[in-house]
């Protein structure tokens, strides 16, 4: 009996102690999807911030990949247990926005206003924030990690085949042939195909992907990417597949292995592979350059669009905790943090200041071409067709596009049939989203 009492007292004391500790600092739950090296940097940011703050404690928690993280946050919201901050990838934007209209979201511009922080939206790169602003140009979520697809190349293989780094799609085709002849097994490939070869191909050539300003203007949007330019582009790649100069290697980053082991010499995927490549590629010299131009479609490129994720703030918590969120957001957007993030990962610096810091530090001299992504994004002022996209159910629609493209690569369908089918199936999901959210 006595023992029991002692134990209970000890337990009560420890509970009191921990709650006293919690009372000192307002705690903020931050759910993110950054694994591996990226996760370590996020943890470092949170730790650095916590060390410098005596009123706030940020608890950064890794919740799985982008989809898992978003699903977990939504499920938590439905159960009333939502985190304060959740990292959501760009294609989840429409879902989050629709929820914002119903009061689930605390928009970032308002968060900053309420916290009394003078928040300067113009400090951010236009191509980055245009993806995440509402129709009145107010920022809804804080850009955190943004990248854009670039053309990665194996310099040694190109030299051996005697070709220059391609800048147009015709050159890509020719280079791939030469590479194949010189013994490269799978000369050309890419990852995240909907993003790199349909969404960005369209933006790069200033072609709308759908009506209603790519979905920014209203939920009534419909897809139009079964247009001639996209269809011809997809058919060109399919034809390259037939003579073995293009080899498909999976939906996400799966084909990274092909590039790293030298089987593939031209690879289109996110600029954010830089950090990993720098560590993993020792046998050959690699580089990155701007996306190829399709000269049959445009004379000059427009600008590419981003991929990556932003931080959304969810409603339903206490005011002091939101003050901490605002403060933490200031901290991660500061030039030093952003420059560190950019230089170590290959994600673009999201503020002009971070870009300048990287320039001053001479980063682009020691690591040449690492500003390709940022140059590509800020090549021209974004147009309605190149500002980004906002389609509901887009996570599922990307899977539909994946399915249809795989049908093209395997020769089951031609490009026109597949794109028509993708548009039709995609539109059905858009209508469903409209119905569920208006």
């Amino acid at each position: 009996m006595n023992m029991k009492n002692t134990f209970a007292a000890a337990a009560a004391a420890s509970v009191a102690a921990s709650s006293a500790f919690a009372a000192d600092k307002a705690e903020v739950q931050f759910w993110h999807a950054m694994g591996g090296q990226l996760g370590e940097i996020v943890d470092k940011f949170a730790a650095d911030y916590n060390a410098g703050s005596d009123s706030c404690q940020i608890n950064a928690v890794y919740k799985g990949n982008y989809t898992e993280n978003m699903t977990a946050a939504i499920a938590a919201f439905r159960a009333g247990e939502q985190p304060h901050v959740v990292q959501v990838f760009e294609v989840g934007t429409a879902t989050m926005m629709a929820a914002g209209d119903k009061g689930a979201i605390y928009p970032v511009y308002k968060l900053m206003q309420d916290a009394g922080i003078d928040f300067d939206q113009s400090a951010y790169l236009p191509a980055v924030i245009s993806y995440y602003t509402d129709t009145d140009n107010n920022l809804l979520s804080l850009p955190f990690n943004s990248s854009t697809p670039v053309l990665w190349y194996n310099k040694d293989a190109l030299d051996k085949a005697g070709v220059a780094v391609p800048t147009t799609w015709d050159e890509v085709e020719a280079a791939a042939k030469a590479l194949k002849a010189s013994g490269v097994a799978k000369p050309f490939s890419f990852g995240w195909q909907s993003w790199s070869n349909i969404e960005n191909y369209s933006a790069w050539h200033n072609i709308p992907l759908g009506t209603e300003e790519n979905g920014f203007a209203s939920l009534k949007t419909e897809f139009t990417f079964n247009n001639e330019a996209v269809v011809n582009h997809i058919q060109r790649i399919a034809d390259m597949g037939k003579d073995g100069t293009f080899v498909y290697g999976g939906r996400r980053g799966d084909s990274r292995g092909q590039f790293v082991n030298g089987e593939t010499a031209l690879w289109i995927n996110s600029s954010a592979y830089y950090g990993g490549f720098k560590k993993d590629i020792k046998d050959f010299e690699f580089g990155q350059t701007m996306l190829p131009l399709d000269t049959a479609v445009a004379d000059a490129p427009q600008n590419s669009i981003i991929g990556g994720a932003t931080l959304w703030v969810l409603n339903g918590h206490e005011k002091p905790e939101y003050a901490c969120v605002a403060d933490f957001f200031q901290f991660v957007s500061a030039a030093d943090q952003q420059a560190y993030w950019h230089q170590n990962t290959g994600y673009v610096p999201i503020t002009t200041a971070a870009y300048d810091v990287s320039k001053e530090q001479g980063f682009y001299n020691t690591d040449p071409m690492t500003d390709t992504a940022i140059k590509q994004l800020s090549l021209n002022a974004p147009t309605p067709a190149s500002k980004g996209l906002r389609f509901g159910n887009f996570v599922q629609i990307r899977d539909i596009i994946n399915e249809e493209l795989e049908a093209v690569w395997s020769g089951e369908k031609d490009a026109q049939t597949a794109m028509d089918a993708a548009v039709e199936r995609g539109n059905a999901l858009l209508r469903k989203f409209e119905k569920a959210n208006d």
Binding site: T67, T71, I74, F77, R78, T95, A98, A99, K102, G103, A104, K186, V247, Y248, G249, G250, R251, D254, S255, G257, Q258, N261, E263, N393, V395, Q396, D399, N402, E403, E404, E406, A407, W409, S410, E412, L429, K432, K435, A436, N437
Partner: protein, 292 residues
């Protein structure tokens, strides 16, 4: 005369069946919820829901992809069950004859069961990776161009092999126990009557194993239909095109990736109907062939 038990208190009988009722409610409540949600469409955050009657169902049956998924599921389920059971039966028969170091062999054969389905998938996915995998390298050596990213049949084969490999251990355990409970005297008697090992197997061992086989058939089919979700999720994600998109994966994809709870619920209900039908058929028709 029939004997009747009379309870003095009227409450007691209810109290006694209460645990059973509680379990029933626990099982039926989610099923009821699934049926209910399948008649609505809902936004992701759950702010609004709209009654759409049978729209979620008609939409599914208008979708050729969904119908194809039945075929994929059937091929997948039957192949996994057949492969896992036949290999494990072979191994069990072999292990049953081993005299030396029998425990060692058994332990090794049971080992893979400890591997989570998702990991089993990833292991095979890695072995067969077209660029890095050792198995695909060997296959290239014998002239097979392996690329499961592109070739749907190869992808389906890959997930079947991975799913079956993981289940072999479990089946092995049951078959081995079944084999060991077969009376030695019967086998000896048959041997004295000059029945060879093959004949002895098919006329004595296999019939006596039917209860085990039937049990494993039910378990393996249920495993292939439902538990392999993690494996497919971790490897092919239903692709290429929709070659490995089995029904249970679609439920997840629609519900958790697509946040389309109505359609996901409708798919769950259909799947539930399928399980009920399958179990009924198995117990009604297949069990007749079982000799207890």
């Amino acid at each position: 005369m029939q004997k009747r038990v009379v309870f003095r208190s009227r409450l007691l009988p209810y109290l006694l069946v209460l645990p059973q009722i509680a379990i029933t409610v626990i099982f039926f409540w989610p099923s009821y919820q699934a049926i209910e949600s399948s008649f609505f469409i809902e936004d992701a955050f759950g702010f609004s829901r709209e009654w759409v009657a049978l729209d979620n169902y008609t939409e599914l049956f208008d979708d050729p992809g969904y119908l194809k998924s039945f075929r994929t599921t059937l091929i997948f389920g039957v192949s996994v069950a057949f492969l896992a059971m036949s290999i494990s039966l072979g191994l069990a028969v072999a292990a049953n004859r081993v005299v030396k170091a029998a425990t060692g062999y058994r332990t090794l054969l049971i080992w893979p069961y400890a591997v989570a389905p998702a990991l089993a998938g990833v292991i095979w996915y890695f072995l067969m990776n077209p660029s890095l995998g050792i198995v695909s390298y060997w296959l290239k050596g014998v002239g097979v161009d392996w690329n499961h990213y592109l070739n749907g049949d190869q992808a389906l084969l890959l997930v079947i092999v991975a799913a079956a490999w993981k289940q072999v251990s479990y089946n092995f355990l049951f078959f081995l126990a079944g084999l060991q409970s077969i009376p030695k005297s019967m086998l000896e008697a048959a041997a004295i009557d000059r029945a060879g090992p093959v004949r002895r197997f098919w006329t004595i061992v296999f019939p006596l194993l039917t209860p085990t086989t039937f049990f494993l058939l039910v378990v393996n089919l249920v495993y292939a239909f439902f538990d392999t979700f993690a494996l497919i999720h971790a490897t092919t994600e239903g692709g290429p095109v929709d070659a490995t998109s089995v029904l249970v994966f679609r439920v997840y994809n629609t519900g958790f990736i697509g946040q389309d709870y109505g359609s996901s619920a409708a798919q769950s209900v259909i799947l539930m109907g399928l399980v009920i039908a399958m179990t009924f058929v198995q117990f009604r028709y297949v069990e007749r062939k079982v000799q207890y």
